[in-house]
């Protein structure tokens, strides 16, 4: 299966926009993703280990909150998209 990384998070995945991973549940996929890219973990999960509320996950084109959440099954042909909220506008570099 494929995980699609949004522009805002590609700095944590060595600039890759799509990561291939074996199928499983959403939880499995995220665990593998964050073990491959540990810096992604803090962006996706809070200190309590739950997915951050301003990050949405889509299995193909459906929000996993309306499927089985982290238990949603992801098959080899599926795509998991990470969609963080962005306010838009030009972000000034620091």
């Amino acid at each position: 299966m494929k995980v699609l990384i949004p522009a805002a998070l590609r700095q944590y995945t060595g600039k890759q926009s799509a990561i291939d991973l074996p199928p499983g549940t959403v939880e499995d996929v995220l665990r593998q993703l964050t073990s491959q890219f540990p810096e992604l973990r803090k962006q996706l999960f809070g200190d309590d280990g739950t997915l951050r509320k301003f990050v949405n996950l889509y299995l193909n084109d459906e929000d996993i909150r309306y499927l089985q959440n982290q238990n949603t099954a992801v098959t080899a042909d599926d795509t998991l998209s990470i969609i963080p909220s962005v306010a838009g506008g030009c972000v000034q570099p620091d």
Partner: protein
């Protein structure tokens, strides 16, 4: 489909019939559609990147009343993408600059200027006079404010947001459709969303998304086509790919759900975790002012300059420092000699402050932060160094 105030007696003059002839000869618009456009009142929040193309096309299309909300002045760096503003407008209020261009395109439309920061105190009053709101703002508190105000007012919110080379667009706050909070119930805490050392935005991107917004506004007015209600359009300009995700109205949404708990506008800065003004960079790290560094270098002191910006920034201008981008610093500390005095710098002093903290935690005792970064160096020491 959203219902707009009925056209009533908005007849078209002969001039208007000629001006809009390419609309009128299309059955999808026709005389009835053009009259609806003329009767429509659209509020554009923001006259910047998104607002520029949005307002320009709405004016050209003959939207009868355009409201513009912006309190900012035109900055030189805006010109790369805010195409309603020209070089001569730098320093002028954006509203004046925008209104002028819109009137030049279409003198017949009515423009209402709101030179104010949209807030919980004024949003409902301002929105009351319009049928549709187009949100072209650039910060989370305003996004949530606009969303809630639109839901509470029963006005659709045509939304777009951009980041670097990607964008999102949707139509929120319609009767049966989702609102922004259905998608993102909570904003990210400030400082957690990668404000991104690389920042920036492709100039054309707000053009792409702003015109998508204008398209959706016009479709809502005409009652034509399939608006982006319940649909999140994702635009990747670099790949030139458009993707769509399904957005559902959250039955438990606190604003637009079956049992709303938000029935009036709240303090959105508090909601987004921002207390008062944005706090300046922490001054807990030891700093050195550009003048001091210059004096030390001139005196021949052995100072190692560490530049923690990105390679493409180094190309714009640099102090000849050793480049280790902040993101790579943890893995490349071995390139640094902790026995030497190190001055870390970036563009404005924010990233380099983080670098100093990292290095001090790793046992580097002689690291200081160049206060104000290379921008301050340009201001105080060497004006030939370009600012960006």
């Amino acid at each position: 489909m959203a219902t707009i105030a009925s056209p009533q007696a908005t007849t078209l003059s002969n001039d208007e019939i000629l001006r809009y002839s390419r609309h009128l000869i299309m059955p999808e618009v026709g005389m009835a559609g053009q009259q609806r456009l003329k009767a429509a009142r659209v509020l554009c929040i923001g006259a910047g990147g998104l607002g520029s193309p949005l307002a320009l096309y709405l004016a050209a299309a003959g939207v009868g009343t355009l409201g513009l909300v912006d309190f900012d002045v035109v900055d030189f760096t805006n010109l790369q993408r805010q195409i309603i503003h020209a070089t001569d407008d730098v320093g002028r209020p954006k509203l004046d600059s925008a209104a002028e261009k819109l009137t030049a395109i279409n003198p017949a439309i009515s423009i209402q200027k709101f030179e104010t920061r949209l807030s919980s105190a004024n949003a409902l009053d301002i929105i009351r006079g319009f049928d549709i709101v187009a949100d072209g703002t650039d910060n989370f508190p305003t996004r949530y404010l606009v969303n809630d105000a639109c839901v509470l007012s029963g006005k659709p919110n045509v939304y777009a947001s951009i980041f670097r080379f990607e964008g999102q667009a949707s139509v929120f706050a319609t009767q049966n459709g989702p609102c922004y909070r259905c998608l993102y119930p909570e904003p990210p805490p400030p400082g957690l969303v990668p404000s991104c050392a690389e920042g920036g935005v492709l100039g054309i991107l707000p053009g792409l998304l702003g015109v998508i917004q204008a398209t959706e506004v016009i479709k809502l007015i005409l009652g034509s086509g399939n608006p982006l209600i319940g649909r999140l359009l994702l635009v990747d300009a670099l790949g030139m790919r458009f993707k769509e995700l399904h957005l559902r109205k959250n039955p438990e949404c606190p604003v637009c759900g079956a049992n709303p708990t938000v029935r009036e506008l709240i303090d959105y800065n508090q909601f987004c975790g921002i207390r008062g003004e944005e706090a300046p960079v922490t001054t807990a790290v030891p700093e050195i002012r550009p003048e001091e560094l210059k004096a030390r270098l001139d005196a021949g002191d052995d100072v190692f300059i560490l530049d923690v910006r990105e390679p493409h920034e180094y190309q714009i201008c640099n102090l000849g420092g050793h480049l280790i981008p902040l993101g790579e610093l943890p893995a490349r500390m071995s390139e640094l000699d902790s026995s030497r005095e190190i001055v870390a710098h970036c563009r404005s002093g924010v990233r380099s402050a983080k670098a100093v903290t990292l290095l001090r935690q790793a046992g580097f005792g002689k690291v200081t932060n160049l206060a104000g970064g290379i921008l301050a160096w340009s201001d105080k020491v060497d004006p030939t160094v370009p600012k960006y």
